[in-house]
Amino acid sequence: MQHRIPVETLGQEGEVMAHAIEACVHCGFCLPTCPTYLVLGEEMDSPRGRIFLMKEVLEGNLPLEETLPYLDRCLACQACVTACPSGVPYGELIATFRLHTEGKRHRYPLEKVYRQALLRLLPYPERFRPLAQLGSRLKPLLQPLPLPKALKAPIALLPDHLPKEDPYQEVYPAKGVTKARVGLLLGCAQRVLRPAINRATIRVLQENGVEVVAVREQVCCGALNLHAGDKEGAKALARQNLKAFRNVDYVVTNAAGCGSGMKEYPLLFLGEPEEEEARALAAKVKDLTVILEEVGFTPPPPPKPPLRVAYHDACHLAHAQGVREAPRSILKAAGLEVLEPKEWEICCGSAGTYNLFQPEIAEVLGRRKAENLRATEPHLVVSGNIGCLTQIQAYLERGIPILHTAELLEMLYLGQDPREKGATLAS
């Protein structure tokens, strides 16, 4: 698409954005996969509509503020990237645009406080944990109160009981011959809300001949900050991780958003001294299921009786990282019947902090996703992302547990019945 963006005055960010806009031919192949277009049915809330709006803003034809309601509603799920035949890097475009405009936009004082609170709490387990503990304890008291949605939404997402997280060892040796040595990204909110996922990931890797290093110096990946337009915050975290993971062959992630966040590090350091190292690290980042496939998966004993699991594609795995086959083939190799829900490409509405900032649309999407998953009549649902787990669980009946892929595999290695175990986890 033609544009008159003054690329020269916008620096490298301008180039990234202009390149994406040029690649768009406005064909509309993105429309049917865009969750907000599905819900709202209007052009402004579609990928190509948003590309048009960003172009107009960058050209100086439209005031930023007028376009923000539509741009803010974008989940950045990147389903449009999967669907796009002309190869528009929409994920890079929206992320860069958000970084580029954050300082120029108006935010109400209360909104600022809320955002800052989230950005300063969630990425830091030592800060988030005590608050989450307090929140889940007070949940029964708070929930009936007529609180604003901005507060109700995060409280609803907290588990009823916050599990304890044991300290990590430095190194977890591989079982048998060591096939690879990987660093595990421990994450931020996930390790507080569901520490079992990291434990399970470590055990599954060990079972598969992988030595796991829980690198001490690591911090949150910074994806939250990056997607909220807080460039400096994201860079500070990324810099720390560049150092921390220097000495491992791979970095394994078990949250889709963290994996894609780390793969976006080069975007953060465009034209800066760290760019090279950021690219090198991004290339080392792999989802748990991808590394299992690469080292050669050693399946656990198959479940008895047979188990039907519906696999939910997390957007930041399927769309942002293009990982769809690995989890399926791992689950099938583990002897599970893998069910495919319809509308696999449509986001569940979690999308990082989306369900906190846009609770209404998130709720519509959450219900729709739960309905599609339920329709496959599974014993349980699996997915590779904590955000999806919490979001979908909120709309799925209690009878159908939802587990992280690592949790399910660990249960099989331990000879536990995922149905029973999952039911207790989900309650």
């Binding site: 031919v25 192949f29 209007e42 402004m44 107009e56 376009t67 035949p85 190869g87």
Partner: protein, 474 residues
């Protein structure tokens, strides 16, 4: 009351768009070289709202454009400046699906593929398959008489529409056709299909559904030249076979499609896709004959899809080809001229020559079976004069098609893009007759003003029908 005030009384705030940021994304369809900002966009949810909006436009003399997903490649849903856009995407209900009668009654905002999805449990499907079928709406398909790869065997949209409920530009609601294949009186619904929104807006569409073919046989053949692939098409037809589809892609479009969807195509000069479909035994017999014909056609490599997944991959690449060309060039114009099948090779050679003469790359991907070419003229709009050169080249290709005994458009429509070439194909008297039909139904010239008819919209009396041609030949 003013027009906008009355519109406000008809549509609640979220469904009447008037702010700049709301209007900008509606400025163009899939032909972004043309852009016009409308006065307002409305999002009707019921047909009564469409009718009221059209009547309001008529009372106030405001031009209007109905649109669905905005996938037109000829600027067919380009807004009129100062006009109203009726965005019908929310009217996306399938009102009735009768598997016994094999019909579906749909609202105009229903997406083409959705009909087949809903009909699938009954073993039925909706045959016309434009490449945009996962996106484009039936209202638009009706307006443009959309075709697709499989129209070779099954015909275009017009062959599958049984009845229409239409609001005319004057706001009258009329019913054309009926649910039976044998209608009474003139084929008025057939007449409405393909009129590109000039005669009104479809409110309800009755579609014919077909039983899904029992078996498919999809063949991919590689050739050393486009001409060789074109000749193979003629040989297949001469052998007496009528495949469901026959498609050709050239090197550039193969490269683009491969980059976009990794269809696994061999990187060659030309690819021919042939798909046989029908009862299993019949397809098996036909496949033998096809193998023989292709074997003798000079193909350098032949592949048969061994599974439904492989078949889908072949089609995915073909159907993504247009947009995928966006990877090769920042801008392109898609042409859609038709030539007699017997003159395909000649047309392709001439297009190659024009491409060289103009110094612009042309990618070819087309419905070879029915001679419907899709040359994509690649250009860079940032380079001074390149758009104009591309348009000129595209025009030469259109003239070539007419000269060879074909037509300006197979399925994309005239829109704004090709209306200047209408006199190449039609005599002044023919055009005048079209304008008179338009005037009779749309005396104020409101419905999709400025499209299709060449003199139209350039008249000094905006809204009147005194066109240049009209004045000349009246």
């Amino acid at each position: 009351m003013g027009f906008l005030e009355e519109l406000r009384a008809l549509f609640p705030p979220g469904r009447l768009l008037t702010k700049e940021a709301e209007l900008a994304p509606y400025e163009s369809d899939a032909l972004t070289a043309y852009r016009k900002r409308p006065l307002a966009v409305v999002l009707p949810e019921r047909k009564e709202e469409v009718v009221e909006a059209v009547r309001l436009c008529y009372r106030h003399g405001v031009p209007f454009v109905a649109r669905g997903s905005g996938t037109s490649l000829s600027g067919g849903s380009l807004p009129v400046e100062g006009g109203l856009v009726l965005a019908l995407n929310r009217m996306n209900r399938i009102l009735r699906l009768d598997p016994k009668a094999r019909i579906a009654v749909v609202e105009p905002g229903v997406v083409n593929l959705e009909v087949s999805r809903r009909a699938a449990p009954f073993g039925l499907y909706y045959a016309p398959d434009p490449s945009s079928q996962p996106i484009s709406t039936l209202g638009g398909n009706v307006a443009f008489n959309s075709g697709g790869a499989h129209c070779l065997k099954y015909g275009m949209t017009a062959n599958h529409v049984l009845a229409l409920e239409v609001v005319t530009p004057k706001g009258e609601v009329v019913h054309l056709g009926g649910p039976s294949l044998e209608g009474v009186g003139p084929d008025l619904h057939g007449f409405f299909v393909g009129t590109e929104g000039l005669l009104g807006v479809a409110l309800e569409i009755t579609l014919r559904l077909l039983p899904k073919p029992e078996a498919y046989h999809t063949l991919l053949a590689a050739y050393g030249s486009l001409e060789a692939a074109g000749n193979a098409v003629s040989q297949v037809i001469q052998s007496g076979l009528l495949p469901g589809a026959m498609e050709i892609m050239d090197r550039l479009s193969i490269e683009a499609a491969e980059a976009a969807v990794k269809a696994g195509y061999p990187q060659v000069e030309a690819l021919l896709i042939v798909e046989l479909e029908g009862p299993k035994e019949e397809v098996e017999e036909e496949a033998k004959l096809l193998a023989q014909v292709i074997g003798e056609s000079g193909a350098t490599e032949v592949r048969i899809a061994q599974s439904e997944a492989e078949r889908q991959a072949i089609w995915k690449g073909r159907k993504a080809a247009f947009s995928a060309v966006g990877r090769l060039s920042p801008d392109y114009l898609v042409q859609d001229g038709v030539v007699p099948r017997s003159r395909l090779g000649e047309a392709l050679r001439e297009i190659g020559r024009l491409s060289q003469a103009y110094g612009l790359r042309v990618a070819n991907v087309f419905h070879a079976g029915d001679g419907n070419l899709h040359p994509l003229v690649l250009y860079d709009g940032k380079k001074l004069g390149e758009l104009e050169r591309a348009e000129e080249l595209a025009g030469e290709i259109l003239k070539l098609c007419v000269r060879l005994g074909g037509s300006l458009t197979g399925e994309h429509g005239i829109g704004v893009e090709k209306k200047g070439y209408m006199p190449e194909m039609f005599a002044p008297e023919d055009l005048l007759a079209m304008e008179r039909v338009k005037e009779a139904l749309d005396p104020k010239g409101l419905a999709n003003r400025g499209k299709v008819l060449p003199g139209y919209g350039q008249s000094p009396h905006q809204g009147g029908l005194k066109t240049d041609l009209g004045e000349l030949y009246a």
